[in-house]
Every structure is written in C-alpha cells, then in structure tokens.
Symmetry: C2
Subunit: 637 residues, 2 copies
C-alpha cells in the first residue's frame, strides 16, 4: 500500500466554490505538491447531464444526485490507497453531505471565495468557459457558505493560496518524539516554538497514562499543529520519511522495548535519537543492532533539565556522522546558543560517545554540586544563616559565575514561613545512575577520577541517615570552624577544587577518546557546555579556548598560575576542616589529588615491592628505562 | 565404551609366581576391588595340554607356546574395552615376552613370592591341588625373577597384599588441576603433600608451553604419583568420577575456553572449581550455564599468593552447597588452619559469592598496602632511611601484627649494594582487575567504599610518572614534615585508618549479601581470613569474634573506644600532611569518611534542593517521616 508522503493521514480534499473561482487550477497545483491524484468533478457527469448542460439547461438536484454519489464512490475508493483532491462546486450543504458520506472524518473542505465582480472579470479572460453572468449569479444565489471549511480568499496568487491551504492541512510531521515526561514535553514545546511540525507519542497505560499526548497538546498553544498519538503505528505513519524519532523514555530496558515495538513500522534510512541518559555501552550495542536493520541510531546526551529542554539545552549527539546530518537541523534549532550565537549542539563522535560525554558531564556536575555543598558546610559551621551564605556566594559571581552557583543562591534565599526551606529538606541525596556509571568507566579506563568518586560516595553516605545520627551521638564530634581561614581562603579553595574537577573530567574524556578511537574535540565539547547545560559557567568558556591548544589542562600556564595562587588557601581550609571534623569530601580530595599529582617520587615503589613479594608480580626499576621487569626473592638474605 | 573406573588408564595386570603362591586368590580379590574382569590362565589350556597335565607329564615350552599366545590375544582383546587381571605363573622371561606382545606399555607385572617351605605348608592345606614337592621344586628351579615387576611378599594377609598392589597401580586421580602457573603449581604440590592423588594438566603451545606438566612432575618428589598431561581427554579420563577439576587459569575468556573444551568429556555430576580471580558476575553466568549441563561449578577465591598456595591458602568457595560437599575434603585439606586448627576454607554462599568476597578481600588488601605506603611516605618525609622505617614498623608488630606489616619490614631492609632495593623500584603500581571490580561493585551497590577508591586511584595516578615529574617541577611542592605529629600519632592514625578500611570492606560484603540474598556470615569470613591470606592479621582475629554479635562494626564498643582514642591523632597527621603537601590518600580519606559518617545533618539537603531546582527530582522533608516527596518552584517569590 502506497502511503501518503506528505499528509499525516489519508485525506480527501474537496476544493469547492462557485464556477470560475479557480478550483481546478488550485486543486491541480496542490495535488502536484502533495504528490496525490487530482480529480475534476466535471469529468464525472453522466452523458445525460453533459447533454443538458451543453444545451444550456441548468441541472436539477435530481440530476446531480447520481453524480454526487459517483464522486463519493470515487473518494471512498481513493481513500483505500491514498489521499486525493477533488474539485467540485458543492454549493449546497446537502451536496456536501452526499460527497462525504462514510468518509467525513477523512474529508477536508477547502472553500475558495471571491467577490462576484472579481470572478466575473476573471471569467471574461477565460474564453473556453461557457458561463454567463446570469449563470454566475445563480451560483452565488445557490451557494450555502460551509461552516467547517478552510476559507481561502482568491485575491492572492495561486501559489500563496496553495501555501495557505498546506499550512492548514494535517501534513506529515518533520520530527517525532516518544515519551512525554518532564524532558520530553519540554523538548516538544521547544521544537514547536521553533516552527517544527512534530508528532508526539506517549504510551497508553489504562488508569495510569491515558490521553497524555492529546491533553498535553491542549495545554499549550504552540502545539496547535502538533499531532498527538497513543497509537504507535499511526504515530510512525504520521512522520515524513526518512523519519526522525527522538526517544525521551527511561534509560534501560524501556529503550529496548520501544525500539522493538517501533522496528516493524520503520523504513530503511529512518533515524532514532535516544535523548535519555543511556549507558554508552548499551548505546553502542543498539547502534550496531539498528545498523544491521538499516536504521540510524543517534545517542544524544541532552543537558539542561526541564528549563533547558524548553528554552534550549546543550545537546551531545553521537553515532554515524552522516546519519547525524539528517537530524542536525532540528537538534541545532532547539539547542541553546553560545555567546557567539552558535548552537550548543555538535556532533561528538562515533558509537556511544555522545552518551559517554554526557555521563562525564554529569560526573562533573556531581562534583560542582558537592563543592558548593562543601562550601555551604563550612559557611554554616562559621555560623551563617542561609541568607548570609547566599550573600557571600553572590559576591563570588563576579569572579567566575556558573549556573549552579546562581541557583544555589536562589535556593538558599527561599523561605517557608519563618525558616529557610533548605533547612527543612532531608539530607539524603539521590542519584540517577550516570554518577555510578562515570565511576565504573573511570575504574575500567584506569583513570583516577577522585572527585567524582568523592561526590558520588558523599551521596551514598548521605543515605545512612539513621546510622549517621547514631554515630553522631556516639562520637559527639565538635563541628564548628575557628576563624583561622578567611572567606577569601574559602573562595580560593573552591576555585582551586573546580579546576581539579574540570581537569579530571576532561582527562577522563580524553582517555576514553584514545581508548575507543573516538577523536573527541575537547574544545568543542567545552564550547557546547558553555550554555544550556547544568555545568555551564564562565570557566567553561575559558576552557573552550584553553583546549584549543592543549589536552592537558595542567600544562597550560593560566591553570598553573591559578592553582599556585590558591594552593596555600585550600591547604589551610582542608587542614582546618579535618581538625574541626567538618566533612568537605570534594574540596579535600581536590588538594589530595593535586598533592599526589605533583609528587615526582610516590610511594608506589613500596606497593610494587609488596606485590612482587607475595604474588611474584615483578617490578620495573628507576635506573632501567628499557622497562624490563624484575623479580626478587625478598626473603633471601 | 565402558571406561575403567579406578585405574588411570586401561591396564592388563599379570599376577605371576610359582604354583601355590596365591595368584588366583589375590587376582580375584584385586579384580573385585578394581571392578575389572579376572582370568585364570589355567582355564585357557588346550585339551591336549590338560590331558598331559592330568597324566602328570610336565609341559614343554612348545606345549606352552600356543597357550601363552592365546593369553596374549585375550589381553589385547580385553584392553580394547577395559582393564583386566590375568593370573599366570609366567616363570620365564620368554613367557612374559609373549604375554605382553604389543601391549607392554599397558601391562603391569605383579610378582608374588614366598619361601619354598612357606608355600609347601600352604599347599598341604589345599587338598584339591595336584602339586607335589617335586613339582614345586621344579617351579622354583624354572623361575626367572622378573626385573620390572612389583614384588609382593606373601607373608601378610591377602587384604594387605591387595592394598599394597593398589598403592602401586596407576589408579585414577582423586582431583584434577588445570593450569600450571605460579598458583596452580603451588596448589598441586600442596595437594600431593597432603596425600591427594592428582592429575595435572597444562596446555601444549609449541615452543611456548611444552611438557609443562611432565617437567613439573620431575621437579618435585612429592609429585611422584601425580599424573601429568597435556592431552585434555586423557586428563579427564584419568580422574575418578564424579570428577573434581580445579581451574587455575587466567580469569576471563580463558576460563570459558577451558570449560568449552572440557565439556564434551565430562559426565553429569562432575564438579569444576574456578580458583582464579574471576569476576563474580561471570561466575554466576558460568554457574547457571553449567547447571543446565548437569555440571557443578564452584567459584572459589584463593588468597595467599605463591607461598600461601603451597603452604596453605585461605579458600572462599561459592556455589551450590551440596556440590561443595564433594570438593570440601580436598579444599579443607590444603587450606591454612586458623589458631584453633580449623581450616581457613568455608562455604561462602550461592552463585558468585565466593569470588565476590575474594574481590572485596583484594579491595581491603589494596587499602592495607596503601596505608603502609602512606606511613612510608610520612616516615620518609621525616628523614628516615628504609631501615629506620623498618625499625619503627617493627615496634608496631607487638600491638597488632599483620602479614603485610611483616613483609613490609622485610622489604624495607632489603639492600642491593650500598642502597636499599626499595629506593630503586619504579613508582608505578600495577593492578590485576579485582580492585577495579571492587569499585564497580561498590558503585553498583551504592556503598561508599572511599578507601578502596583512594587506594585504586593512587595506583592509577602512579602511572602518570612523566606528568608527575613535570608537575613537580612546575609546582615545586615543599614535601617534608614538621616535627609536630609524633610517631605515636602516626601509629594511631594508621590503626584508625585500618579500622575504617575493615568497616568499609565488611559493609560492602554485608550490602551485597542482602542485595543478592546470599546470607553471608561475616564472622566466618573474618575467621577464614585469619590465616593463609594476604590480609591476615591480629585485627582479623578480633573481627571474627566481633562479627559474631553485630554486622555493624561501628556499633561495637571496642571499635568506638579504639576510634575515639585515635581520632585526634589522625586529625593531626592528616592536617599536617595537607599543609606539607605529602600525599597520604588512604589515611586522609579514612578521617574524611569518619567525619562524614558522624555528621548527623549533612549538606545533602542542599544537593537535593539543587536537584529539585533543575531536574524536578523532588525531595523529602525532615519533619515528615512518611517519606513523602515534595517539589518546589524555586524561582517563584
């Protein structure tokens, strides 16, 4: 069955209006553009009717009865395989009723209209037509103006008229989106606001998820031309080929279930975009699987939360570069823009690289959040209220602002009654998986991402609330800070730790890039993270420039100077926090990492000796640069 | 083809000796025990020979010729399907040559002998025999004593004689071991020393691994009755059913390859023990796969290194409890013994639990090693030589000794020329996978194992040798300690950190036990780690007792007192190390973890607010113990 190419569903478009209004011209033009057949009702008169008309006799309603039924039969037959356009004056409501018998739901009425004078003048230019002024007047007299038709004024050019009609037809959508959760809905609205014709699908789960798409469409004006579905084949069929379908469903088996359900209805060359936080290894598997089916798969990290998704997220698409070109215009249109107006969306690399960098983005995010939590711990211990803490943090914005710093100020000022809301929130932090995966990746790749670990484990430890309260009673720590370290020290410690965090995050990306041969562009990644995403910051803008010249942040003089200028401050802050029993895991581990990293001769020689002693694991020697391995019988004297 | 049940390979056992020595009695008894057929040569004489003998005429060699050939034919035919025993006087070497024609390699000669007087007396009690003293004398005269036979003196009971013969037969082995690397060889020797009949297999790789098993057997006397193979079917066939085969090959795909190669030759009910450091998830998969084939699979962690494997390792077997009973006697026999003489080998739990706890054992080991490396860093920074450091560490043994403390002292004293060997070892530490896996497990289970992470990442960071040297030049840290913290402080800091390490390790095991429903016994695990393994220590002996009453180490008063008494010391040591830029990642993270753990109200409330702000992730409230989730529009004033 040949499917309609452009129309969202098989439709009969009746172009109606008085003689001479231009039905055939417009109908033929529209049919050509929509690639569907065009029929002129005049061609379907019986011989008797033709004879009557050629003799100048007006047709009675009785004469018209069989003709209208014949046209209805034609329309019904056409609908079985395709859409079509039928030009027919259909002046009376009763005629129109016959024409759309049994197919009213699939019928679209287009009513062409102009003034008597206008049409009369036109007709005088058309010598072949046998219409007189009297006949035209009788048409105007007969005309019952339709209520449910699209009215098109003929004073503009035929091209403009056809464009106007197309705008109002249920055309196939340019882009489909599956899964109308918080992020999915925001992306739909973003797409629609950017003028993209979208289809939106949400599954139907009785009494749990019902009419999600339809109700969502009703809620927002920008979705007026969006097509809502809870029927998957209809959704797929509503999309222009090659189809572009974005999945915004829960990462994990839900993705595979949706893909499995979609597959029978897709065509070679269609593209699926997974915009969720999928595991990059799974993305690679899906990429390979769908490749074998001739379907493109783009694993795209999307960051920005609900607001970012609506106003412009940062998008990190990975997969086949050529396939990406098909979806590029849509993703770039909805993405945030950097300070130069360039979209914060850029092809990342092959396989699951898009989801990999999103995972590390989230790892960096975990740490940036924990660093602010560490700062909050210290400022609270100094006796500040949340408002006072916000006051202090406000002053930090001028140096190097960040989205997370900004929202933290807003959060700290939020009151509920006489107290600050933050004081009332339970201190057990959740996580959605990407943090764990980042740690798994760093373990597998052999990269020391100590800060992501510190932030992740701080969240894990927060879950032992009851144990913590019991231990607090048991050990009774004295958790307050002496006034030794200044606010400036704390600010510097925070800045120092942020540099270490970004060093580690990009280092992990760089190592993965080399291991998986992804050839990732660190500078471009930093650039698409300068806006739209949760870790956007003034520092990220600097990094986009720095990474143009080096992969190693620590080799850049800006970094060297920034760290040197802040080192003694973070040492003071961490030493003090240890002595005063204040937990600041991420700030602490930042200086620990730095100390280890700047140690030319570490204690790992002892570890190697131990390993060789009990496991005969052998070791290398400092003075032997051939890298040869040695084994010693350590017990022999 | 019915295989021999007890004999390692199809064998013809000829029981020879003069008439009246007891060949038939012994042959029949032995045949019954080995479950193979018994034949009496006298039953194979021709009618002519029988007539001659009944007339009292001695047989000539010519008479015997056909008879001996008939017996050889019988033996050859038997060998095609099974072993057998043939009782035959076979007094002359030439007779024996005929008997073993073409089957010499599969022939075992057993020579029964006694004095003339002894046999004569015996015969007088046997009325049915037609032997006279003269005839007996002629037999003694004819006898040519065999050189390659097992000589059995008939002065003991038939049962004792049969036992003696069995000892000297190539009996099927009780236990098989595949993979003769460092650990595999040590386990083989250990098994053989404990009197276990083993078969040993190592693959044949031309020019790389040739005759490994045969050469290994030659090297050690205790392996004299061990059977060496490089042919897998022969190895399998040499094992008594149900077979017990231990794999000591590299973890990973090598295990699967060996299992695949083994499977066609195994029988229902056989057991495979994987004694390598396999990933516990893979062990579960293999367990399920082999279960479907009717084969038992035991994933057994084995710790102790080369020396432990030889003298008695700690063994952590997991899998089906009933299947374990089959291999239990062997594993317990080779395991180390605890202070009460009980084997350091105990059934851990179902599925991959044995390999899981071995992985955590190694995680604890990583940390114990890093803590000593941290101590070494600080003592070195105080200006001590390796010998002086060893002197200090020696004094720590009396408080709480450990295997790793002991070997560290030995290592530090080892000199090469005028310098200490440890000074010459390259400071880039390796790792074999279990450390990474422990971190992956802790991430997946949501447990904050900060110390394993610190130790693993210290090893990872050690690999950036060139970067570290460059950064050291660039940042020029002043790495020395002021005399503020005493040796006693350092000792206390070390002890404090060891408690945190063991808390975290057992906590991770406990969480896994609950998640996977393994019902692990922490006290018993601590007990089997009190000897044989790398983390054996006086503290582990304490833990075996403590875990009898609680799963939560921090809830035990001994621990509370021990931590309280050492807290200010570790605070001082860590604060000082931060100020003096000395990297002691594991000691540092021990106090950080403790500080976080004893914080009743953490900063995670701010994290939850941030997550709710940008991702609508919701939060719980302190005053609402229903656990309800809330969402706030943070931007609304």
């Amino acid at each position: 069955m040949k499917q309609a190419i452009h129309l969202a569903k098989p439709t009969v478009i009746f172009i109606m209006g008085v003689s001479g209004v231009g039905k055939s011209t417009i109908g033929a033009l529209l049919a050509k553009q929509l690639e569907i057949p065009f029929f002129d009702a005049d061609d379907y008169h019986s011989e008797a009717n033709i004879l009557k008309m050629s003799q100048g006799q007006p047709l009675t309603d009785h004469d018209r009865h069989d003709w209208l039924h014949a046209l209805n039969t034609l329309a019904v037959a056409q609908l079985k395989t395709n859409s079509c356009i039928i030009a027919c004056s259909a002046l009376k409501a009763s005629y129109r009723t016959i024409l759309e018998t049994t197919i009213a739901a699939a019928t679209k009425w287009v009513f062409l209209h102009g003034s008597f004078q206008q049409i009369k003048e036109r007709m005088q230019h058309r010598s072949h037509h046998f219409m007189t002024s009297d006949l035209l007047q009788s048409q105007f007299d007969t005309l019952e103006i339709p209520q449910n038709a699209l009215s098109i004024d003929i004073h503009v050019s035929p091209e403009e008229m056809v464009a106007k009609i197309q705008e109002n037809l249920p055309l196939k959508a340019q882009f489909g989106l599956i899964g109308l959760g918080v992020m999915g809905k925001s992306l739909c609205r973003n797409l629609a606001q950017k003028g993209v014709r979208i289809s939106m699908y949400n599954r139907h789960v009785p009494e749990v998820e019902e009419d999600i798409a339809i109700n969502f469409k009703k809620e927002f004006e920008e979705l007026s031309s969006a097509l809502p579905f809870d029927d998957l084949p209809a959704f797929v069929n509503s999309l222009k080929t090659p189809r572009k379908i974005m999945l915004m469903v829960n990462a994990g088996t839900a993705i595979d279930a949706v893909i499995e359900n979609l597959l029978p209805f897709l065509s070679q060359g269609d593209s699926i975009i997974d915009g969720g936080n999928s595991n990059y290894k799974k993305t690679k598997e899906r990429f390979e699987f769908l490749k074998s089916k001739g379907i493109h798969f783009i694993g795209a990290g999307v960051s920005g939360g609900e607001e970012g998704a609506l106003k412009g997220p940062s998008i990190m698409p990975g997969g086949n570069a050529k396939a990406y070109q098909q979806v590029q215009p849509f993703l770039e249109r909805i993405a945030a823009k950097d300070k130069n107006g360039v979209p914060c969306c850029s092809y990342v690399g092959n396989e699951g690289s898009g989801h990999f960098v999103k995972m590390i983005h989230n790892g960096i995010e975990y740490v940036e959040m924990q660093l602010l939590a560490d700062v909050y711990t210290l400022l609270k211990a100094k006796g500040n209220t949340p408002d006072q803490i916000a006051d202090i943090l406000e002053t930090w914005k001028s140096t190097k602002n960040s989205y997370l710093l900004e929202i933290t100020c807003t959060i700290l000022r939020k009151k509920e009654g006489d107290d600050w809301l933050v004081n009332k929130i339970m201190d057990t932090a959740g996580n959605k998986g990407t943090g764990n995966w980042a740690i798994i990746a760093t373990a597998e790749l052999g990269v020391p991402s100590t800060l992501i670990a510190s932030a992740l484990f701080a969240r894990y430890a927060s879950f032992y609330k009851a144990e913590r309260v019991a231990a607090n009673k048991q050990f009774n720590p004295q958790q307050h800070t002496a006034p030794k370290s200044s606010l400036e020290d704390l600010h510097k410690a925070y800045q120092f730790a942020r540099i270490i965090n970004h060093y580690q995050g990009f280092k992990l990306i760089q190592e993965a890039s080399e291991r998986f041969k992804w050839a990732l562009n660190l500078s471009e990644l930093a650039r698409i993270w300068t806006n739209g995403c949760i870790i956007r910051s003034d520092y990220m803008i600097e990094l986009a420039t720095i990474f143009k010249t080096t992969h190693n942040l620590f080799a850049h003089q800006n970094t060297v100077q920034a760290l040197k200028a802040r080192k003694s401050a973070i040492q003071k802050v961490v030493a003090e926090s240890v002595l005063h029993e204040l937990p600041i895991p991420s700030i602490s581990n930042a200086i620990h990492f730095f100390t280890g990293y700047t140690t030319a001769n570490s204690s790992a020689n002892l570890l190697q000796a131990q390993r060789d002693y009990f496991g005969a694991h052998t070791y290398q020697r400092k003075e032997d640069d051939t890298g040869q391995y040695y084994h010693t019988d350590w017990q022999q004297h």
